[in-house]
């Protein structure tokens, strides 16, 4: 049986195709201005990679902020539920998912069946979301995907005293002018952001079995800064790209609905 999940986010779109409980293909693209276009493009890429057509898909679940604009989705599900379901499918026993997206951050607590027990969400303030790192990477003139690697060379991470993206940007400009090493500044930024995300997670009570999803989870510096801030070892999603966890969860839900 072939099922699919499609996650249309603010910055990227993801698609996953499952065949009898294993991942057949997955794709990530940068989002287009219109969610319909993002959805079609990413799903076409995933179908092509699997060598199948949309007609072969028995059920497709849409998720993400653009989920109501996915023309080929049979049903929709919230990102919260999908991230939880995707994480549990990859890492059975996981009890908490911290998802940092381009424009939001979520902490989701799961029950033993992978259902959402409680969650906290921030999309009101750019601090603690992917945008924070994006703005800082721009100010530092560093490609965002290199931030993790560079921070690994930090000797004495700086303390960033501002939480607000706008104020923190000014702060790091003065740190650059003061001659602080780039690695120390980036490590300081990761700590500041981890602190912010950790408070979100603490708000719904921490679990010991935690994993991280979303594009930011690929940043090694951020990953270890969050471990440090939480005082918990985070389980790594080694079997799949953490960015596709939402689409994967949508596909897992699709397989249940198809066999419904």
């Amino acid at each position: 049986m072939l099922v699919a999940g499609c996650d249309v986010g603010s910055l990227s779109a993801k698609a996953v195709i499952l065949e009898d409980g294993s991942i057949l293909s997955s794709q990530v693209i940068l989002a287009r201005p219109e969610p319909e276009d993002s959805a079609r493009e990413v799903m076409d890429a995933a179908l092509k990679a699997a060598g199948i057509t949309m007609g072969d898909i028995e059920h497709c679940v849409g998720t993400g902020y653009g989920r109501h604009h996915i023309p080929f989705a049979h049903s929709v599900e919230s990102e919260i539920a999908c991230h939880g379901r995707g994480a549990q499918w990859l890492l059975p026993g996981v009890k908490m998912v911290i998802d940092i997206g381009g424009q939001d951050a979520k902490a989701v607590r799961l029950d033993d069946h992978g259902n959402v027990a409680r969650y906290a969400y921030n999309d009101k303030c750019a601090s603690g979301t992917g945008r924070f790192l994006e703005v800082m990477a721009g100010a530092l003139g560093v490609p965002i995907e290199q931030m993790g690697e560079i921070s690994g060379r930090a000797k004495a991470p700086v303390t960033i005293s501002n939480q607000c993206v706008v104020f923190a940007e000014t702060e790091i400009i003065s740190l650059i002018n003061a001659g602080k090493p780039l690695a120390d500044i980036i490590a300081g930024l990761h700590r500041a952001m981890a602190h912010r995300v950790a408070s979100l997670a603490r708000g719904i009570e921490l679990e010991q079995e935690i994993t991280m999803t979303g594009g930011v989870a690929k940043n090694r510096g951020m990953f270890s800064a969050l471990e440090e801030a939480l005082g918990v070892k985070i389980r790594e999603m080694s079997a799949a790209d953490p960015q596709i966890a939402g689409a994967l969860g949508a596909a897992v839900i699709a397989s249940r609905r198809a066999s419904g």
């Binding site: 009101k124 303030c125 750019a126 945008r131 703005v135 607000c164 993206v165 706008v166 104020f167």
Partner: protein, 267 residues
Amino acid sequence: MIVAGCDVGSLTSKAVILDDGKILSQAVLASTFNTDESASMVMDRALRAVGLSLQDIGFCVGTGYGRDRIPFVSKAVSEIACHARGAWWLMPSVRTVIDIGGQDCKAIRLDEKGGVVKFFTNDKCAAGTGRFLEVMAKLLGISLDELGRLSSEARSPLSLASTCTVWAQAEVIHHLNEKKPKADIAAAINQAMANRVAILARSVGAQKDVCMTGGVAKNVGVVQALERCLDVNIRRLRVDPQIIGALGAAVFARENVRGGSHAGGRM
């Protein structure tokens, strides 16, 4: 007796010289990275305008975020106390002062003697501070003055759903891409600013008379939007609202010299 007040802020430095209870001179300058330098330059300008030198000043009070590093002051007093005292000295009926600076916003409730009863500050989030307007003016490619004036030309004012400066910026870019008139966007920006400040003002009660201090008080669009939000008439002070902190510092300096009951940096 000639006394002075010096207010070194994050973006601008201000100095006021009082002579027998009258404003003799005042100056406003952009701050440099160096607090000493900012303080000396602005004070020098105010002194020179009236042909005085630092030796002529009987007592000088410093305030603002750089207040502890001003070399020539005899005493440092908090900005909160100085804004309250400065506004009250100009208008004894004032009970609420809303001060919007370049990087913060304060709402202060006063008693009938100009003392501080209660206050709230936001310096954690750029929304509701001068920085918000600065970011938006830059985005629209206009000056801060124009941003304030432009909202009165709005035909169908837009609105911003986000509070966060970063997200609001994205909304403004969207409006610009949709070729929406700048005046309609400016109205949305000033309204968003007022909404945020109103939360702080309401938390201290916003009792009458209400006045505004700080550079943003010169932004007509924000002042009018805030009047609508709070449903109150905001009283205009008769001097540049940007110098109120420095004026309050000078008033403290004067009280200190006279040994009056208000002497001291109580707040």
